[in-house]
Symmetry: D2
Subunit: 223 residues, 4 copies
């Protein structure tokens, strides 16, 4: 059974009432719950845990790590970043969610700035499936509509994904490569755009399906 | 100097007053003119020419072929398609424009259905640059806006492009991989979405720049 | 459970004693047996069956089709090729084995000549794993050694694979991209080079592992 | 005209008579000379120059930087690495040569370990052209033979190249992806394997052709 560690910065939810209303126990609790419901073996870890909850022991026992961070990327210690980096290269899967695009670990793995355009105005996003036969798109229609979200726009400064699974349309006029697969070392990485802290996006069933599919896809092969 | 053959079905312009108003001498004449202005050695050929204007002699003398067709794809002879196919594999560049996505030659080279969604309602398109460092994007801003166009939407059933240069946003809610590079055999292929017959899109300077850049990019190397 | 149809031209084995000695009941029987041993639901079909054994009914019931052909590619009817092509685009997996590189269906899907260099001199091949984290490489060491084989050399005229899993070294001085993944339509295709009729290559356990892994990988997702 | 800065560690040549015999004025002098002969505007810089010869001013004036290093990768200052990294993302081309695979700048851009197998035994390498239509392969036959070289073998722990142009065969039984194109930010990167300090590989005309082609290919587009 795939062992998943759901990592969360867990600051917004403790600092901001509006966020807490959407994710009372933290974004990690919501993600952990729906992954647990789908049969994964799930644990959580957060920034303010000792070693950010990502000791060597925890990582060695993790098949897939999911990463949500936003305002405190710089507080993640370089030592832990290197530890996660090594584990990805040796096979651990990594899901980078939404504002995790600017995390140290994602920038470390991509080698680029990972910059993008953004605008926070609660606009509609439509996530189009570009590769319908990909396992991460299993059970997803041609399009997922997110009623209100923060916009992320191109150019997204990442290496061209090994496989592009989803591309987003935003009401205000932008597009974004929102579901990007990468292989690095022996590990698989999936960047998935949706999921701002002030919108209940991780409560949306199709988004949960994609995250769960991505966890399955990123599970390491036996070697 | 790169020798370009601009191929056009050339039916709409002779049958339909509205189209003739936009392209009085045919889409091919407009494309040929702006390529000639940019220093290419240009000739044209159309469906109703003998052998569609694509004799072995013409093709042997062509570095890059541009292709526009729409209502008469089926009238292109299989023999000429095979001839063009062979030339592409042996190095000739090919630009497939707009509704050329359903041409025999493009389907032959892609190996897929090349299907897509479409809607004709004169909506706005924004063509976002996804690879700003690519030679086909040279001189292009982060986005080209086409005020009125036919919509093409995903899923576009083509192989994942070797390089994705542009992605389009449409007012009505769709996205589209609108600038796709492929290598096949020793030849280079660029699919470029804009260019419906009832809109003056090939008169738009940024679109002309992309087409000219793509011709340069697709020019065969000496071997 | 994945349903596999193992297709074989099945001519060499009936015409040539040396081949029959290696594959007494045909290459398909050997492949079917080791896939059955690994828990797949397997059936076989051959060129000389009515409709080559590939009726619409059989194909509709097939998750993954494996293809071995060599001397009689031209005898495969265009109608059956179109039928298989449609099924791949709608999600069926396809494994193309060794000399199947020149089959009508592979050329139809690739859009290129699929040509390559070859030499038959019983030389050693070493199949190097280029993507150790890929599910098709699961359980495979850094290299599979095939003691005696026919050489296939670059340039292999195919589109750049979406993922390159294996690259072969040949004693006589050539290299070859020998494990190539493609997505076409909603289907997944894997080309795997080893497997000449006069060498017992499909009896080799590591080769069997790769074929079985590839069947799993190419199994369609639920849609 | 493309401005090239040829960077060299320049230690082996000063420390070791055998190396000095092959490259009396340093590897950089040899590379600079053949690029100058081909019409590029060339300057050189070495590790022991102030700021390694790579001041902001020099880099701002450089279209393409070529990088050769081996024994002193760790002596390159992190500040200069960041400076080069930024310039690549903003468009400067980068050619990474041979043992430069382990340079800080290449690892920074790739995000992986960049590890590989190696053996120094003066064996023959055959560099096969996998993409004959690519501009970096212009003028190159199907294969370049290097009579004596150090072996580099897979698995090469890099991201799958955006385009794989060459693959090497080694006498001792290994293969290697020896010509790899990457886009990162707005810049283009080419890794080219040949070129050990104790063999006269940069004196070989075909190798010089590839390096010169790669400089042309990596020259930034106007933006």
């Amino acid at each position: 059974m795939t062992t998943v560690t759901v990592w969360n910065e867990y600051r917004h939810e403790r600092e901001d009432d509006a966020v807490r209303e959407v994710y009372p126990d933290g974004i990690h609790a919501t993600i952990a719950e729906f992954l647990d419901d789908r049969g994964f073996d799930v644990q959580t870890a957060t920034l303010d845990d000792p070693e950010h909850g990502l000791t060597r022991e925890v990582l060695d026992d993790t098949d897939v790590l999911t990463w949500w961070g936003h305002e405190a990327h710089e507080e993640v210690s370089d030592e832990v970043v290197e530890r996660v980096h090594e584990r990805v290269l040796s096979g651990m899967g990594l899901l980078v969610l939404h504002s995790g695009h600017y995390s140290k670990i994602f920038k470390r793995l991509m080698g680029t700035s990972c910059g993008l355009k953004w605008r926070e105005s609660g606009e509609t996003e439509r996530i189009w499936t570009v590769e319908p036969g990909h396992p991460i798109a299993e059970g997803i229609d041609e399009c997922i509509e997110v009623p209100e979200t923060e916009m992320y726009g191109e150019r997204f400064d990442v290496p061209a994904p090994d496989t592009l699974v989803f591309t987003s349309w935003f009401e205000g006029g932008e597009v974004f490569r929102s579901g990007c697969c990468y292989r690095r070392g022996s590990g698989r990485i999936f960047y998935f755009r949706p999921g701002h802290e002030t919108y209940p996006i991780y409560h949306q069933p199709e988004i949960q399906t994609v995250v769960a599919n991505a966890v399955s896809w990123a599970t390491p092969v036996d070697t």
